[in-house]
Amino acid sequence: MRRIDECRRRLVALALLMASAAAVAASYPLIGQSAPDFALRAFTGDNVRLSEHRGEVVVLAFWSSDCSTCGAELAAINRSFSTYRTAGLTVFGVSVEDSRRHARQFAGAHRVGFQMLDDPTEEVSRQYAVDSLPMVVLIDRNGTIRDVHHDFGPQDEAGYRAELRRLLDE
């Protein structure tokens, strides 16, 4: 994702966010639908296929090396990942990146407990209608997309955790 495009997109996203968080979520076209299946290589470790994780609550965190808040987002997600993984939470970071080198560097620089996946053709980000970064998609145990988050300020983290707990309790 080019810097200018990304910047523009982020401004748009920000504006939307300001309008109403609920509106942002509601406008995401995939809520309530079956999460599109995909298979991606991980930067380290085995290949991953989403459908093999049905039965777990899955969080997809889309990131890019030139997204300034993605680092903080991943760190926040990593914190809740450690807490809830034994309860059945699975997290995947997914790159949205032109340059493989940058993607690899970013993945290496941000140590997290979950797998970081490489999406070289950006097919997955297209499937999931990623329109701005950071973006986090929450998928329930049945494989249905339940929610999407676009920002990770401190107040958002608490809400995100509560939502995770609800999904995990189902």
Binding site: S34, R54, G55, T86, R141, G143, D169, E170
Partner: protein, 640 residues
């Protein structure tokens, strides 16, 4: 009713398929089995899903049935049937599995396969509670099964006999049974239980003590060991043989699922011998544990009982009061749990479940019970076969709902495809019909035949002129014409001279054409051959078009009606799924609620008992005081 199937399944299927399907089908676990030699690629496709785990079972079943529908599994019939049968079992489809296994019981099926089918059938019957049928099926096995399966067969039979109350036969079966070591402990345990029921305590003691003194690190065997010790301990207690009971009970682990009951029993052993002070030790320990447990609840009455026996009435009274307080608090907790269950919240923690685990792997994860207050009461219920089977049903039905929803959305796409196809055909069909009706191919064929026969005549008659170049042919024609007119003319010097010259010219021309004749014939033949090839291709294409054209009206029309029919079935099944799933959920809640109600009853009984005992204590204390105060002759008040 449904029980051991669950536990037998993984092993049964592993072993059975290990032999039946040399297709390396050690049920999802085999590092040990060799890879398969799959002749049918399609069968291999089924295995690819099968080997991935229980959540792919439905996919595997779908494919195996589809391939059989298309007749693509001819090389693998018995194996495919066995596989399908065990897949059905995995999904809890016992009736369907039984039908398949029964199908395998024809004489032309190899005996090894037949035996396995009987064994599976026996499991199916046992699972469904038809014990005699299970026994009969087992009896139909000829000879011995492979060692692992043979052990399971004995085990299954012993369970059947015990459930039928034929303990003596079970004893005989198990008494001198030598099997694989890991089964031996379980066989001995079963034997011990059967012997107890046969009132052969001494023999039972020997069998159970063997299990009870096992040295093992395996957690399941350790649990079995506890159970064995508990069983023989209580059996002895029942015969008032406290001395025999104690050693067994003492072997039960202090930190384990059976420790509470063991502690209770140890106290009673001491009490039996009159050692009430000693009895207090385990009973007081029990009181420190969670009052949810039945043994703990009983200890709240046992302790004051002991105090009473020791003459410590004040301690007894305060213990009874303690009991009442605890029972009261526990009663409230139970009420809360019952309310939760009745409001339908019980199952939310359990029901999303782990799709990966499948029907039988699931309860390995029973350890991670949901975080709900009622779960601690319901461990036994959750662990019971009825609950597990019901829960598995619930989750499978949910999976099926999801699958059908996906198909439902595909139906629209299919409909679009069929429409598009129909539209395309609407354009192409008239063209195809025109072409087919035009007889063009026949005409081409006839022309070819004409050309061929013409060429043959030319060759036969060595008709060089026929193959001449155009100018040659023109000249030839002129020569022939002149020849003809000369033939009619009288003979004189002039005409003869002309005739001679003509003959010369004709000869030269003939010579030219003749020289080129062979080459030209060869060229013509080549052309004919090319024509043949082209004609052949055209014929093939014609046939294809004809075939396609013939199948079209039935094709799209048929597809359209199939789609419509399937859409109806999807809708109908979705309704049934929702309804049955709801019923299943209610059933599970009922199981839980029933259990809680019984626990509440038991608790209530304890409370009544405690109150009664406490009241008696006070009465006796009061009347003793009265007796102390009034002179002996003036006792009036009758003890209340």
């Amino acid at each position: 009713m449904r029980r051991l199937r669950a536990l037998l399944a993984p092993l049964a299927v592993i072993a059975a398929l290990a032999v039946a399907c040399p297709a390396g089908a050690a049920r999802r676990e085999s590092d040990k089995l060799p890879p398969t030699r799959v002749r049918d690629l399609n069968f291999g496709d089924v295995l690819f899903y099968y080997f991935q785990g229980p959540d792919k079972d439905l996919e595997a079943i779908t494919r195996i049935e589809a391939y059989e529908h298309w007749g693509l599994l001819s090389h693998h019939r018995p194996e495919a049937d066995l596989l399908l049968g065990s897949l059905y079992l995995d999904l809890g489809l016992h009736n369907a599995a039984g039908a398949i296994f029964a199908r395998l019981l024809t004489p032309d099926v190899p005996p090894g396969v037949r035996n396995r089918a009987w064994f599976y059938l026996a499991e199916v019957w046992y699972e469904r509670g038809y014990l005699e049928k299970a026994e009969q099926s087992l009896a139909r096995i000829e000879g011995r099964l492979p060692p692992q399966l043979e052990a399971q067969r004995t085990h299954l039979l012993s369970n059947v006999l015990i459930r039928l109350g034929r303990d003596e036969e079970a004893v005989r079966l198990l008494d001198h049974w030598q099997g694989p070591p890991d089964w031996l402990a379980y066989a001995r345990f079963n034997l011990g239980i059967a012997l107890i029921r046969e009132h052969r305590l001494a023999d039972a003691d020997r069998a159970l003590a063997a299990v009870g003194t096992l040295v093992t690190r395996d957690p399941e065997l350790a649990t079995l060991r506890d159970r064995a010790n508990l069983a023989i301990g209580y059996a002895h207690l029942q015969q008032h043989d406290a001395a025999a009971a104690r050693p067994a009970l003492e072997r039960v682990r202090l930190e384990g699922p059976y420790s509470n009951r063991a502690l209770l029993g140890m106290g009673w052993a001491d009490a039996d011998l009159g050692d009430y002070r000693d009895a207090l030790v385990p009973w007081l320990e029990l009181q420190r544990r969670s009052v949810v447990d039945a043994a703990v609840q009983e200890s709240y009455l046992a302790v004051p009982y002991a105090y009473g026996k020791l003459g410590a009435e004040k301690e007894a009274a305060s213990s009874y009061e303690n009991a009442l307080t605890s029972y009261g608090a526990e009663g409230q907790a139970l009420d809360a749990a019952i309310a939760r269950v009745e409001s339908g919240k019980l199952l939310t923690g359990m029901l999303a479940g782990n799709a990966k685990a499948g029907r039988y792997g699931w309860y390995r994860q029973l350890k991670t019970l949901p975080n709900a207050p009622e779960s601690r009461y319901l461990y036994d219920v959750f662990a019971g076969d009825d609950f597990q089977a019901g829960l598995a049903n619930y989750r499978e039905l949910g999976e099926m709902q999801r699958t059908l929803t996906e198909w439902s959305s595909s139906m629209d796409a299919f409909g679009d495809m069929i429409d598009a196809r129909q539209r395309a055909y609407a354009v192409r069909l008239p063209r195809a019909d025109r072409l087919l009706g035009s007889g063009a191919l026949d005409r081409m064929q006839r022309r070819r035949d004409e050309l061929a026969s013409r060429l043959e005549r030319i060759v036969r008659e060595h008709d060089v002129a026929a193959l001449g170049a155009p100018d040659q042919q023109a000249r030839w024609q002129r020569i022939r014409a002149i020849e003809t007119s000369l033939a009619a003319a009288p003979h004189d010097a002039k005409t003869d001279g002309l005739r001679d010259r003509l003959r010369l010219v004709k000869g030269v021309l003939y010579f030219e054409m003749d020289a080129a004749f062979n080459a030209r014939v060869w060229r013509e033949r080549r052309t004919l051959k090319d024509l043949d090839l082209a004609l052949h291709e055209a014929e093939e294409r014609w046939i294809r078009v004809e075939r396609a054209r013939r199948s079209v009206p039935t094709n799209t029309g048929e597809f359209a009606s199939r789609v419509a029919g399937l859409e109806t079935r999807i809708a109908a099944l979705q309704v049934r799924l929702a309804s049955t799933r709801a019923k299943q959920g209610d059933y599970l809640a009922q199981l839980a609620a029933g259990e809680l109600a019984e626990q509440k009853q038991r608790l209530a009984a304890y409370r009544v008992q405690a109150r009664f005992e406490l009241a008696s204590l006070y009465d006796r204390a009061a009347s003793r005081e009265d007796q102390a105060q009034t002179p002996p002759a003036a006792q009036k008040e009758p003890p209340r």
